[in-house]
């Protein structure tokens, strides 16, 4: 994403991250090249691959990925450069002098075919029995280049056992073509460092620390590797068969909650371009599939804001008024990838994590208590499914502490891709579905819960409420249309200060019993920050550790995935910065179209505090159901 000046990048790729030049004047001009006898002028340092794209020539690629640093290992993108004895990998060759390039000579075509053929010879399995059939980059290349005969043979037996140990990510290394995208994702993009190539020669393979199962290493389950794997070597742990079984069991009451990000992306699985929100079509499709109830995760996102916001106020009150130790800054805890990341990498900071559960888990706890009670259903007959953009949510719902209802609060985490598969399997073409609403009693949710999907969204949702709580003014009076623009966009780290001034409002009734007034906040400045992608999270955490500016923050939003949930590990493949931008746009557009855009104004939230969580936010009942605790894992406990 942003800077590559970290130390964990594989050295062979580190100095070769070729930044796209944005301003020609700053990098010293342009250079003229001839591609297939056509002249084109490109900014100095443009890769041959980029230059070809600019002149409308398509070059096949495999190891190359927009989000990742250059590897130059698959060699499919080779081209001829006049005066050079060998072919050059176009993805890794920055143009710094005039040159003549040919992209389709006999030597180039033969090399590409041979390389694809070699990859196929080591790639285990048959396409028709593969879940990536039709969506596999290797298959697409073989088709495009007419490689259809296994010239160099084909492996008949799998080389490696499939690693199904993880709740989230399944690794089938027999299908791996060693493009190392997963390695670069894990080490460089996310700075987690679970996957790396081991051994050499024909024994080279991608492995974990001591070749342990994924479940036993410090994988954070973000699934970003899945999103970037060109083949079926990596995939999410798919529970759809169990879900079908539950749907088919007449005794079971099957409930699904849907998060905003899958709704903004699932259209891509049905041939729509990125950025089409399918919320209401999806409601109909899910009912037709056989789910008994469809609920909106945004409802518990609103609830999260109230709980997490109250928690923040209590921490600030403790620190500023009671002058006691309070773990500040408070960190958000709704991204389960981030939670596991901090448990592994910064276990000494777990007190800073909000104890509020993620919206998925809050919903799970409420469905098997509040809802089951209300609907008169035995909670043991309820099967609770969560449609999430996320592979880490599968791990989260299997955490032993997530049994607040007395049952497993959420039975299955389902990704966007898996949901699309179920919908297709049911013979439904999603875009053609009529629109319908969410089910009661959680029907309506606010736009604040909706924007949780994009990086900065949780913070924006929180600020919309905090501003009104503390200042007693409308958010719209401070931020135009209640859009808090500085918190939006894809900068790796965002920082904002909100001066509170000397005018404060009344403490709202809902938390009146916790803080008497806001006078203690007069003149204070609220400092907040947002990071997405664990590499950026690491920057903030290291800054906090060193006592830097972020240690003075009050509240920080962290999302494990680049772009936030819209770029989650369960989202449709491929993922690129452009696609993530469009998904985010869809979410913000939907938010703006809503009447209800602040969590505390959600009538259902108000209702649940009146009817069920009667001792209020952060009260006894909510602590039991809506809050959790964390595990100091360190580097050695998976």
């Amino acid at each position: 994403m942003e800077s590559k000046d970290n130390l964990r990048v594989p050295g062979s790729q580190k100095p070769l991250t070729i930044e796209k030049p944005s301003d020609l004047n700053t990098i010293g001009g342009t250079v003229s090249v001839e591609i297939n006898e056509k002249k084109i002028t490109v900014p100095l340092g443009t890769t041959i691959l980029e230059a070809c794209k600019m002149s409308g020539i398509s070059i096949p690629t495999l190891c190359n990925h927009e989000d990742l640093c250059v590897a130059g290992v698959c060699r499919i993108c080779v081209v001829e450069v006049e005066g050079m004895r060998t072919l050059q990998a176009s993805c890794a060759f920055p143009i710094t002098a005039p040159m003549k390039i040919r992209t389709s000579t006999p030597m180039v075509r033969k090399a590409r075919r041979n390389i694809i053929d070699l990859m196929l010879s080591e790639h285990y399995g048959e396409c028709y029995s593969c879940f990536r059939n039709g969506k596999c980059e290797l298959q697409a290349l073989a088709k495009e280049y007419g490689v259809d005969s296994y010239t160099y043979g084909h492996v008949s037996k799998p080389k490696y056992e499939i690693d199904k140990s993880s709740y989230s990510v399944i690794r089938d290394m027999s299908k791996c073509v060693l493009c190392k995208r997963c390695v670069r994702t894990c080490i460089d993009l996310q700075e987690v460092g679970v996957l790396e190539a081991v051994d050499r020669g024909d024994k080279t393979h991608i492995s974990t620390f001591l070749n342990k199962p994924l479940n036993d290493v410090i994988c954070i389950n973000c699934g970003q590797c899945i999103n970037r794997c060109p083949t079926a070597a990596l995939r999410a742990n798919d529970p759809s068969d169990e879900i079908w079984a539950a749907i088919d069991d007449p005794k079971k009451h099957v409930i699904i909650q849907t998060a905003p990000s899958p709704r903004a992306a699932i259209g891509e699985e049905f041939g729509l371009g990125a950025g089409h929100s399918m919320t209401r079509e999806l409601n109909t499709a899910l009912k037709r599939i056989g789910f008994d109830k469809v609920f909106d995760t945004n409802f518990t996102a609103d609830l999260t804001i109230i709980e997490e916001g109250t928690e923040l106020i209590l921490r600030l009150y403790k620190a500023l008024v009671k002058k006691e130790d309070a773990a500040l800054p408070q960190f958000t805890s709704c991204s389960p990838g981030w939670v596991k990341f901090i448990e592994h990498y910064y276990p000494d900071y777990l007190d800073n994590l909000s104890s509020a559960k993620s919206p998925q888990q809050m919903f799970g706890a409420l469905i098997k208590t509040f809802y089951a009670q209300k609907a008169g259903i035995d909670p043991s007959d309820v099967v609770s499914v969560a449609l999430m953009p996320c592979s880490a949510k599968k791990f989260e719902c299997n955490r032993p502490e997530m049994h607040a209802s007395g049952f497993k609060d959420v039975d299955y985490g389902l990704t966007t891709r898996e949901m699309a598969k179920m919908i297709r399997e049911a013979g439904i073409n999603l875009p053609e579905m009529p629109k319908s609403d969410f089910d009661d009693p959680f029907g309506e949710a606010s736009g604040a819960g909706l924007i949780f999907g994009a990086t900065g969204g949780v913070m924006e949702a929180a600020i919309r409420s905090v501003v009104e709580f503390v200042l007693g003014k409308k958010t719209e009076d401070i931020f135009e249309k209640a859009n808090i623009i500085p918190l939006r966009g894809f900068d790796g780290v965002k920082y904002m200060e909100i001066p509170i001034g000397n005018e404060v409002g009344e403490v709202p009734d809902i938390i009146k019993h916790l803080v008497p007034d806001w006078n203690w906040l007069k003149g204070a400045t609220l400092k907040i920050a947002v990071a997405h992608g664990t590499a950026n999270a690491k920057k903030i955490m290291d800054n906090i550790k060193a006592g830097g500016k972020f240690s003075e923050c009050h509240f920080i939003e962290f999302m494990a995935c680049p772009g936030g949930c819209i770029g989650g590990g369960g989202q449709p493949i491929p993922t690129t910065p452009e696609i993530r931008k469009l998904r985010a746009k869809a979410i913000y557009a939907e938010d703006e179209s809503l009447e209800l855009r602040k969590s505390h104004e959600n009538p259902n939230v108000v209702k649940i505090y009146n009817e069920f969580l009667t001792d209020g936010p952060c009260g006894h009942q909510s602590h039991k159901l809506l809050h959790t605790h964390y595990t100091k894992r360190g580097r050695y406990i998976a």
Partner: protein, 399 residues
């Protein structure tokens, strides 16, 4: 062979430690570089890049920190000349590094020593210590103000690919030994991102002689395109194997006479990654422009089975490929499988031609020199010895 028995016009000629350094310190960096350019010295590791050009690029690079790395990861099957230089002529190698440092403006030198040569480490370190005592290393070398340079020895871990300069740098940085994409080249972005020159032991050892006796003197030996002399590590079927210094341009047949090889059928020039030259071509000369080599000469007589030899080479490459790029990682396996097919007599000429074609793809599409050169023996042995190999008897010499 003992040191006193070694004879040679350049490298094995007389030289006293420190003489070359004294000489260059009296001159400007530019003049020394011109001397070296005059000699037309090319890299002795095998690729033959002009040394003066490389140093000019590092000298011109704008950086406070620069490195000179001596590539002593002598791993090509059949080479052992660098070991002789390090063991018997360390003054040449280290003086060469000091001179290089003076020219390019490096403060740090690293010897990347082959893992298997660990037994040399102690004596080399002792030697460096003695140079420090004589102010040939350290601060203000030979009282030249501001000329600070020192050398450390770092051990390789036994990977053949780390002889490739960018993989060597990766290894030095603590990463997997894998070749980097080029450009950028080490001369601008090398060790720890700083301008770096990586030179073979023998290249560096030539430098003190050149600066002491001049480029013209150096050029008296060799051919126009291959100046000077070369150390050859001769092994295989001959009576006198060992390290020989011979002028570039020596005919293979003459070399065979010198080492007393009889009944020779083939000579592998350049080690496993080189080419196999059959008897009919023994009048070819050893030179960059003809039969180029980093020094390895392996002689085979009529009793040898060429297919077995080839298989041995290919097994070596299958194991030593770093495994990052597709053509080299899988291609070498396919070539080896082809050899096994011939052994069993289960092959078609069509498929063998397909494999040669694959070899040619590997030569142009692999990421580094390893995969680009590993098909050389496959192609040259299958072409030059096809009667013997495709004899319907699994390549078994008609027996």
């Amino acid at each position: 062979m003992e040191k006193k028995e070694r004879k040679g016009a350049v490298l094995f000629s007389a030289y006293k430690r420190g003489d070359g350094i004294k000489k260059v310190l009296a001159k400007s960096r530019e003049d020394v570089l011109l001397d070296i350019r005059e000699s037309k010295l090319k890299g002795r590791g095998g690729a033959g890049f002009p040394t003066a050009t490389k140093w000019m690029m590092v000298a011109a690079a704008n950086s406070e920190t620069k490195y000179i790395i001596c590539n002593a990861d002598e791993g090509e099957p059949g080479t052992f000349k660098d070991r002789v230089l390090l063991l018997e002529y360390p003054e040449l190698v280290f003086d060469g590094m000091v001179i290089a440092a003076y020219i390019i403006g490096a403060k740090n030198g690293i010897v990347y020593l082959r893992g298997e040569y660990e037994y040399l480490k102690k004596s080399l370190e002792d030697y460096l210590e003695s140079m420090r005592k004589d102010n040939l290393l350290g601060q203000n070398i030979l009282s030249k103000k501001g000329f600070d340079f020192d050398i450390t020895i770092r051990m390789g871990s036994g990977a053949y690919v780390c002889g490739e300069e960018t993989a060597l740098i990766e290894s030095l940085e603590g990463s997997r030994g894998e070749a980097r994409n080029r450009p950028p080249f080490p001369v601008t972005t090398g060790y720890m991102g700083h301008p770096t020159t990586v030179n073979n032991v023998e290249t560096l050892a030539s430098i003190p002689h050149i600066v002491s006796k001049g480029g013209e003197w150096f050029k008296k030996n060799g051919t126009d395109k291959s100046t000077g002399s070369k150390l050859f590590s001769v092994s295989g079927d001959c009576r006198k194997p060992g390290v020989y210094e011979l002028p570039w341009g020596t005919k293979i047949s003459d070399l065979l006479k010198i080492v007393e090889a009889e009944d020779s059928k083939a000579v592998q020039v350049g080690g496993a990654s080189g080419f196999c030259i059959p008897k009919s071509q023994f009048n070819r000369t050893l030179a960059y422009e003809d039969a180029a080599t980093g020094g390895s000469i392996i002689i085979f007589n009529e009793s040898r089975n060429m297919l077995h030899i080839l298989k041995n080479f290919m097994e070596f490459f299958v194991e030593e490929s770093c495994g990052q790029c597709t053509p080299c990682r899988i291609g070498n396996v396919k070539l080896l499988e082809g050899i096994r097919m011939i052994e069993k007599g289960e092959y078609t000429f069509n498929y063998m031609n397909q494999l040669k074609d694959l070899g040619r793809t590997m030569q142009v599409a692999s990421k580094c020199g390893l995969g680009q050169s590993s098909p050389n023996s496959f192609i040259s042995i299958l072409e030059n010895f096809k009667d013997e190999i495709f004899n319907g008897n699994g390549g078994n010499n008609g027996k």
